[in-house]
């Protein structure tokens, strides 16, 4: 891989003049080559060996994407359910940035490269992303500004690429009292690519962030998505993950509660079948007093699928009065399914309330019996129970418009 990646790197950036950015990229490339793709030996990849998964499903990866190919935005992919701003990535490259519903001077889009705002994480996939991502967009939401409409980020891949890594990265800064809603939607027309996405969010005082990640379309791509959220005083972040369509998907959320009274909510749904393997890994770091976090992850597994939840609550010695909660539940429908969980508490302060729970098992036979005695068929009863199980998480979504959109996508009706 080493030679190939170097050749692809030089080919991709042959027009770049030597500057800070290229130097930064080269550093990251070297780091990635040194570390390689993460595998089972790393504790955070214990249950999902990415190196092995890519080898098995993709084989050798390409890192070069022909820039001369024109990427047209297919309008049929655009969601018609509600008005929205949009960012469209096609094959990892930003093709459209449309904030037409917002005040022009309130949402600033910066393209300049700035090393200081980069995510700091020891993660070889971040190195890969930094090395190959072409534009480091920074989106700044001004003080006291609430976005009129949500922002949908489309991650489109076209059918003319395969065995390629697509790297994209976005940085958001939410100034004081601002608020932003983001919906991520994956629209894959391609097969067998590795998609690597990094988001960084900086939430200033009283800022509110809502991020909904929807992976619904059936596809054979391997995906990794990483959110880094830094929160100041009184800020709120809400993340919702629907993990369903891709062959492999790992969502990683790293949340630093740096300000008092800040809170983080992470909710996730796995609904998997046919050999899929998905993971959510969270790490919520309570770093100061009076912070709160809540996580609820539910999964329904069918037909040889596998889901993994690794959730960590870290409470630093200064973070007294922390309230941390974590719950993961799983229904295994098929004999060959597998659920792995590692709900972790790392606590260094004593005046805290932290707990976690994890339960997994089959559908409750008594509930099925009850429903069947009311005249439902086995299939109907099963469907009803599963909908109820998953709706519990969906109902936690605080935005009505998006909640009903997600319910519609998941074909869940009350």
């Amino acid at each position: 891989m080493e030679n190939k990646i170097k050749i692809d790197f030089d080919k991709t950036f042959k027009n770049y003049s030597s500057n800070d950015e290229l130097g930064f990229k080269k550093n990251n490339l070297e780091n990635f080559i040194k570390e390689g793709l993460p595998g089972r030996k790393l504790e955070s990849w214990k249950f999902s060996d990415l190196n092995q998964i890519i080898n098995k499903n993709i084989g050798e990866l390409n890192f070069y994407i022909d820039p001369s190919k024109e990427n047209l935005i297919d309008n049929t992919l655009i969601i018609k359910d509600f008005d929205h701003n949009k960012i469209v990535f096609i094959n990892g490259k930003v093709e459209e940035l449309d904030f037409s519903f917002e005040d022009k001077d309130k949402v600033k889009i910066l393209k300049e490269f700035e090393i200081s705002t980069k995510i700091k994480s020891k993660n070889s996939l971040l190195n890969l992303n930094n090395a190959f991502c072409k534009n480091f967009y920074k989106i700044n939401i001004s003080k006291n500004y609430t976005m009129n409409k949500p922002l949908i980020i489309y991650h489109v891949s076209t059918n003319n690429i395969s065995s390629t890594t697509l790297n994209s990265q976005l940085n958001f800064i939410l100034e004081e009292n601002s608020s932003l809603k983001i919906v991520d939607i994956y629209e894959d027309k391609s097969e067998k690519n590795f998609i690597n996405i990094f988001y960084s969010f900086i939430l200033k005082e009283n800022a509110i962030l809502k991020n909904f990640k929807i992976d619904k379309l059936q596809n054979s791509n391997i995906k990794y998505s990483y959110n880094n959220i830094d929160q100041s005083k009184n800020s709120v972040s809400e993340t919702f993950i629907l993990s369903n369509g891709s062959k492999f998907l790992k969502n990683e959320i790293n949340c630093n509660l740096n300000g008092q009274y800040s809170s983080a909510f992470i909710n996730g749904v796995f609904s998997l079948d046919t050999d899929k393997h998905h993971e959510i890994r969270t790490s919520v770091n309570h770093l100061v007093e009076n912070t709160k976090s809540y996580q609820l992850i539910k999964s329904v597994l069918d037909d040889k699928s596998k889901s993994v939840y690794q959730g960590k609550i870290y409470v630093s010695p200064d973070a007294q009065k922390t309230d941390g909660y974590q719950l993961s539940k799983c229904i295994l429908l098929d004999k060959n399914t597998e659920f792995n969980a590692k709900p972790e508490l790392e606590i260094y302060a004593d005046d805290v309330k932290c707990s976690h729970g994890s339960a997994s098992g089959s559908l409750n036979e008594n509930s099925i019996f009850y429903l069947r005695s009311r005249g439902l068929s086995y299939k109907q009863a099963k469907k009803l129970l599963i909908s109820g199980f998953l709706l519990d998480v969906i109902e936690k979504i605080t935005d009505e418009e998006i909640k009903s959109f997600i319910k519609k996508t998941m074909e869940l009706n009350q």
Partner: protein, 478 residues
């Protein structure tokens, strides 16, 4: 240390740490030392080969470093791998024949070696340093066909049993410390309960570390044949020492069809002084195999001592309908560190496991519960229930919970709960209002917190354990 004495194999070295003269193998870990140990114990060739195979494996293994409590690197070449009370060679026939100093030490530890103490119903296989010195209550046990002796004796007298079962639960290809033990284990207990026998008394061993720089490598093997029952107690103390001492024991339990083994531990080894100097490294491998159908293995542990406790008593539930249980109280104070928990590996159908873990950390200590529940695809209708609660006392200590949960069978259920909190002000207030001083109040509340586990201990241990819980937390309030 006297340099001359170090390098001569088979030369007796006269003790310096207690007044009992010790036979010591020279410092260091190599084939010669292993042969020396094997030779002095008059072991058959197969066992020596087995040890050497383990040593060969050890050379390619790396010491693990994923654990939470870190410790300074151990120089394995700077340890003694064998030391024994000298007069062991002329085996004592009666108690009076024993070295009076030794008897005195046991008396201090409260071991009921005396015949008079027969009434206590405890048969004691006392281990001083590494060699079993005396075993009591043999008669009653022999009548029932129960074998309870040191493992070296078992190697001589019951080689077939030892050969059949040794290393079947903890193979020589296991992790670093277990393999180290396989290569250099010196002594330990051997228990065999024949078919259909219910052991009439609690079997008990007191371990005691005494010789300076002697890594203790005990090996315990307990076999419960079809339909039998045994309850085994293990308790430890160690005298004041400045340098850290390594203890890497292996305990193997095997339960055949319908058999039950109950293994209880109270561990209060020297935890180091208030500044975290000294103390024992307790890196023990304990593993039970529910080999037969309807078998049961239950671990109960009260861990209050050691500078570092790093162990995961596990159950492999191989037989159908087998049951594994784990009850644990772990208390860390001052600079103590613990990384403990259990593994429940469900392989057979209808297997059940239960984990109750209570962790209390105070002072500057750090406590981790780490556990694994693994239900394999064939373990139909299996069940696990896990509860781990941590109590923090003071804001300089840490409590962590790291469970690994793997469910690969759709007809099996796993439920896991964990909480972390401190002693509630309301409860403290209530107790103090009733006239208890803060220390008593904390003791009362902590004992209540641990009650679920303390109840699992045999009577003799429960009282001691309850006291220990109080003693361990002394000075942590206020």
């Amino acid at each position: 240390m006297d340099e001359k004495n170090l390098d001569i194999i088979k030369d007796y070295k006269y003790g310096f740490s207690t007044d009992i003269e010790n036979i010591k193998a020279p410092k260091g870990l190599n084939e010669e030392v292993i042969k020396f140990i094997s030779n002095i114990k008059k072991e058959p060739k197969w066992l020596l080969d087995w040890r050497l195979q383990a040593y060969k494996r050890l050379k390619v293994l790396k010491e693990p470093d994923w654990q939470k409590p870190k410790y300074p690197k151990i120089n394995y070449q700077d340890l003694y791998y064998y030391s024994a009370p000298k007069n062991f060679n002329e085996k004592p026939k009666k108690l009076e024949d024993l070295d009076p100093k030794l008897l005195e030490t046991y008396k201090k530890l409260g071991i009921p070696l005396d015949e008079q103490k027969r009434l206590n119903g405890i048969a004691v296989d006392a281990v001083f340093d590494s060699v079993s010195v005396a075993t009591t209550f043999k008669d009653t046990l022999t009548k029932n066909g129960i074998i309870f002796c040191s493992i070296s004796e078992a190697v001589q007298k019951h080689p077939d049993l030892v050969k059949k079962y040794l290393g079947t639960v903890i193979p020589i290809t296991d992790h670093y410390f277990a393999t180290l033990n396989s290569a250099v284990f010196t002594d330990g207990s051997f228990v065999y309960i024949p078919e259909g026998v219910r052991c009439p008394m609690e079997l008990s061993t007191y371990f005691r570390i005494n010789a300076s720089d002697t890594g203790q490598f005990e090996r315990t093997l307990i076999i419960a044949d079809k339909g039998s029952y045994v309850s085994y107690l293990e308790g430890c103390t160690a005298p004041m020492r400045d340098e850290n001492q390594l203890h890497a024991a292996n305990v193997e339990l095997i339960a055949l069809d319908d058999a039950e083994i109950k293994y209880s531990t109270v561990q209060n080894w020297y935890p180091g002084d208030k500044d975290g100097k000294g103390g024992i490294y307790n890196f023990v491998t304990k593993r039970g195999l529910c080999k037969g159908n309807n078998s049961k293995i239950s671990w109960t542990q009260v861990e209050t001592g050691s500078a570092i406790t790093w162990k995961y008593p596990s159950c492999i539930l191989k037989g159908d309908n087998s049951i594994g249980e784990f009850y644990s109280i772990a208390i860390t104070n001052n600079h103590q560190k613990a990384d403990t928990g259990t593994k429940m590996i469900h392989l057979g159908k209808n297997t059940k496991s239960k984990i109750i873990s209570k962790g209390i950390s105070a002072g500057l200590s750090d406590m981790t519960y780490r556990g694994l529940v693994d239900i394999s695809p064939n373990a139909e209708n299996s069940n696990n229930y896990t509860q781990c609660d941590s109590l923090l006392m003071g804001n300089k200590c840490g409590a962590h919970t790291i469970p690994y949960i793997k469910n690969k069978n759709s007809n099996s259920n796993i439920a896991h709960e964990a909480t972390t909190s401190k002693i509630s002000e309301d409860q403290l207030h209530y107790c103090q209002q009733r006239g208890l001083n803060p220390e008593e109040a904390v003791g009362l509340i902590v004992n209540g917190f641990c009650k679920e586990v303390l109840q699992q201990l045999p009577m003799e241990f429960a009282v001691e354990a309850q006291k220990l819980v109080g003693i361990s937390l002394e000075g942590s309030v206020g």
